[in-house]
């Protein structure tokens, strides 16, 4: 089985942890360089003389399986023996293109370059063998790390061809395999990171150990936008293990010999803050401001047809108001970063979705060129967008490392993570739709009020419906209460899926139609949407009554080039909360790299979305986050886990993303099932507050 090669930094960490001396000479080849005797035609792969194949991954592993999936693509075209493959995580490096691991797009954007990288190398190895034997390359073929000449029965392993292959030109247009020729893609290749993750050997950012390092915690203003006016560190300095107290731009750091002493020291700080102008906000005042803003004209995001006229002429109109709350990401690994700044250079170990962003930002902070900043990407204990755009966790460490002149790991407490973070935006939504006399929707008007932020976080998913409705208008009104927002798994569709697919369900009921049939009628010209819808309904037994006491809801979503339909089967518990027993998820994500990973990502999105649907809300009081930890920002646990059945709808289309696609449909599927159960429409999440 392919495995993850221990990287140099992991080796150093292990060495430090077990107290052995450092072996400086141990290193893995950097991108673009090759070791003597090896064949390294590009940044992505290297064949060693012993036949071992190194494959680099430029994107970050946060659970989504990219450290296995992207190398599978290279290995497929290379015709590598997967058993001989070692996967190596690349540092921040332009050789790997854009390394930002967001938007479910790693495999999508990597699909062509990775296939070409592998195919070019395969053709060079074939040419090297053909030259060796003095036969035309067309008479040779590659298979599992060996080039064969069928008519003479001769064969050479890739390792025997490295010297000669390295002298050949890289073909510009290598032949790509057809899907029928795939041996690795589409199979359940075991993830390369699993063994390390069940033995405690996997190194996350928080596990980085550098000789001479210290640990730090940061006291930040509890009100967003506030800052330190003064502080008394007497008690903090008295905590055993605390070695320094240092102010940085975002607050006051307590530096210590271990994490716990840093946490204790931070707790002992007496802080005076200038809370700034945001201290006036509460959840209620934010809601009131959103309601008032909805009356303002706003910006027309997309308009087709004449909505006012169509609503005026509609046989039946519906009005609804939907609320989506602020949400924290709550990655299991709290934010952290380790940095060392010495002699005009910086070295950073970051659990990050954005190594190049950190490299640029650190270079800017330190007044260095990006080439002077090395960013090592560790495993991440969850990302979900928190470790994508935002770089707060890294800049704090870089700034402090420079001030201290020694390596430091800044670790956020869970409370810091929940209270000083960045959040999925809250929005307030005014919807109105019209049906004609036959029950077909003819008009859709949506006024979306929310904070400042890029459109992909606010309006995506509400701006263009999958359904053919001739008269459509989305208006955006900005009202920003100063709560910092960031991409959250699923981005705009994480809230707009709930809003759009719940309101579509309202239209179905108003039209007197079955919600499945209603959607079917609206996507009849879109075969991929229709296929997932039908497959989900079929597997869920939509046409048959649910078991006694259970109720079903359905939702349909397109996320980029991935199509998902979900059916949730629920019962209503005492207290009015749903118990979700079963979720059927039909997905067409084009070419499937690894079916097990697709299934895992569907399960993952459903749990992440279901947690938010049932419990997720960040409340604000006096400009501060009310919640602080998992006791008051609860998570779905194993006992509440529904049985998730994933139906893979296969196609040969290019691969679509899977890291977020199954998330937007779960909230509406559950809420639509709640309507089927109770006749009450849930228009405000989380459900725990709906009653």
């Amino acid at each position: 089985m392919a495995r993850v090669t221990q990287t140099r930094r992991e080796f150093l960490q292990t060495s430090a942890a077990i107290g052995t001396s450092l072996v400086i000479g141990f290193h893995l080849p950097a991108a673009g360089r090759r070791r003597a005797g090896s064949f390294k035609p590009n940044a992505w792969l290297e064949v060693q003389p012993d036949g071992a194949v190194n494959i680099w991954t430029g994107r970050s592993e946060m659970g989504q399986g990219v450290r296995t999936g992207m190398p599978m693509i290279v290995a497929e075209e290379l015709e590598a023996d997967w058993q001989a493959v070692h996967v190596i995580q690349a540092d921040a490096n332009p050789a790997y293109g854009d390394q930002m691991t967001v938007g479910s797009r790693s495999v999508q954007t990597g699909w062509d370059p990775l296939r070409h990288a592998g195919a070019a190398a395969r053709e060079m190895l074939i040419s090297a063998a053909a030259l060796t034997w003095g036969v035309p390359p067309t008479e040779c073929r590659a298979e599992k790390g060996v080039v064969r000449h069928a008519s003479s029965g001769r064969s050479l392993g890739y390792g025997q061809l490295t010297e000669r292959a390295a002298t050949l030109p890289v073909p510009a247009n290598p032949r790509l395999k057809s899907p029928a020729e795939y041996r690795i893609l589409g199979t359940r290749v075991p993830r390369v990171d699993t063994p390390a993750k069940v033995t405690g050997r996997a190194q996350y950012g928080i596990d980085v150990r550098v000789p001479g390092m210290v640990f730090a915690a940061v006291a930040r203003c509890p009100v967003f936008g506030g800052h330190v006016t003064s502080f008394d560190a007497t008690a903090a300095r008295a905590v055993p293990g605390v070695t320094a107290v240092q102010q940085i731009s975002r607050g006051v750091t307590v530096v210590a010999e271990n994490t716990w002493a840093a946490f204790q020291g931070k707790q002992a700080l007496r802080m005076e803050w200038d809370e700034g102008t945001n201290a006036r906000w509460s959840s209620q005042s934010i809601h009131d401001a959103f309601v008032a803003a909805a009356a303002r004209p706003g910006e027309a995001v997309r308009t087709t047809g004449d909505v006012a006229a169509a609503l005026g002429g509609a046989a039946h109109t519906l009005d609804a108001i939907y609320d989506a709350p602020y949400l924290a990401h709550a990655c299991m690994e709290p934010m952290n970063c380790t940095a060392q700044v010495t002699d005009g250079k910086a070295e950073i170990w970051a659990p990050t979705q954005n190594p190049q962003g950190i490299q640029r930002e650190a270079a800017r902070l330190l007044g260095l060129g990006p080439e002077a900043v090395t960013v090592h990407v560790t495993y991440m204990g969850g990302g979900f967008g928190r470790r994508g755009g935002p770089m707060d966790y890294a800049t704090e460490a870089v700034e402090l490392a420079q001030k201290l002149g020694k390596p430091v790991q800044v670790v956020w407490t869970r409370q810091d993570d929940i209270q000083n973070g960045v959040f999925r935006p809250a929005t307030y939504n005014v919807l109105r739709a019209g049906l004609d006399a036959t029950g077909r929707p003819v008009a859709w008007s949506h006024t979306l009020v929310g904070p400042d932020g890029p459109s992909f976080m606010i309006t995506r998913g509400a701006d263009e419906l999958i359904y053919a409705i001739p008269n459509f208008r989305l208006t955006r009104v900005k009202e920003d209460p100063g709560i910092p927002v960031a991409p959250w798994r699923g981005v705009g569709p994480s809230q707009n899926g709930f809003i759009v697919e719940s309101f579509v369900d309202e239209l179905a009921h108003a039209a007197g139609k079955d919600p499945y049939d209603f959607r079917r009628g609206l996507v009849s010209g879109q075969p991929r949407l229709l296929a997932v819808l039908d497959r989900a309904a079929e597997r869920a037994g939509w046409r048959s009554p649910p078991p006694a006491g259970r109720h079903r809801g359905i939702a349909l979503w397109q996320f980029g080039d991935t199509y998902v339909a979900e059916v949730a089967e629920i019962s209503v518990q005492q207290g009015g909360l749903p118990r979700v027993h079963r979720v059927v998820c039909a997905i067409d994500c084009g070419t499937v790299i690894n079916p097990d990973t697709v299934e895992a990502q569907c399960q993952s999105n459903i749990v992440y979305g279901l947690t938010a649907t049932l419990y997720g809300e960040i409340g604000i009081d006096r400009g501060r986050v009310v919640q602080s930890n998992f006791n008051n920002y609860p998570m779905l646990r194993l006992a509440q886990m529904p049985e998730v059945e994933v139906v893979l709808v296969r196609s040969d289309n290019p691969p679509g993303g899977i890291g977020e696609a199954a998330l937007p449909a779960i909230a509406p599927a559950v809420c639509n099932a709640m309507f089927a159960a109770t006749g009450t429409r849930i228009r405000r999440l989380p459900i725990v507050h709906a009653g």
Binding site: P190, T194, P240, T259, M332, E333, M635
Partner: protein, 151 residues
């Protein structure tokens, strides 16, 4: 600074730390056993689960002074080479995603199976309360059943 002698994964280790320092941080920062994770600090998430005298214990709220002579087993000491039936089942079911909670999940499952070799779904619900943000719960349940009878 007080001195404590701990038995960690079968080895005797002496540390000089405050008595109220949680075992989690002694393991991670003093002794270098970073497989045990920090997740919440208030015994909510279970990422810090170790075995203390064989019992699953949330080390983030366990003062080192309370450990006494009870042997400590961390994820690093469960098998050494990943061959514990729970680890093998976790691999077979491809449980981990981000993996951060999995040390705690594996330790919780190993303790459950040591006490109940053939747990029911209800037993698993009751014992496996660790938080996984990636949503690996369905696979955890299957992996526990797969490992049943082998611990």
């Amino acid at each position: 600074m007080p001195e404590f002698t701990l038995s960690v994964n079968g080895q005797s280790r002496t540390v000089n730390v405050p008595g109220d320092m949680p075992l989690l941080w002694v393991l991670r920062d003093t002794l270098g056993f970073t497989g045990t994770k920090y997740g919440c600090g208030i015994a909510q998430c279970g990422a810090c689960t170790v075995h203390l005298g064989g019992a699953p214990t949330r080390s983030c709220v366990t003062p080192v002074a309370s450990v006494g002579t009870r042997p400590i087993t961390t994820i690093e000491g469960l098998s050494g080479d990943g061959s514990h039936p729970v680890q093998r089942a976790w691999i077979a079911e491809e449980v981990p995603q981000c993996g951060y909670c999995q040390s705690g999940q594996v330790m919780a499952a190993a303790a459950l199976l040591a006490a109940h070799p053939h747990p029911s779904d209800a037993d698993i619900d009751a014992a496996m309360t660790n938080i996984c943000r990636c949503g690996t719960y369905q696979r955890i349940r299957r992996a526990v059943h797969r490992a049943a009878g082998e611990v």
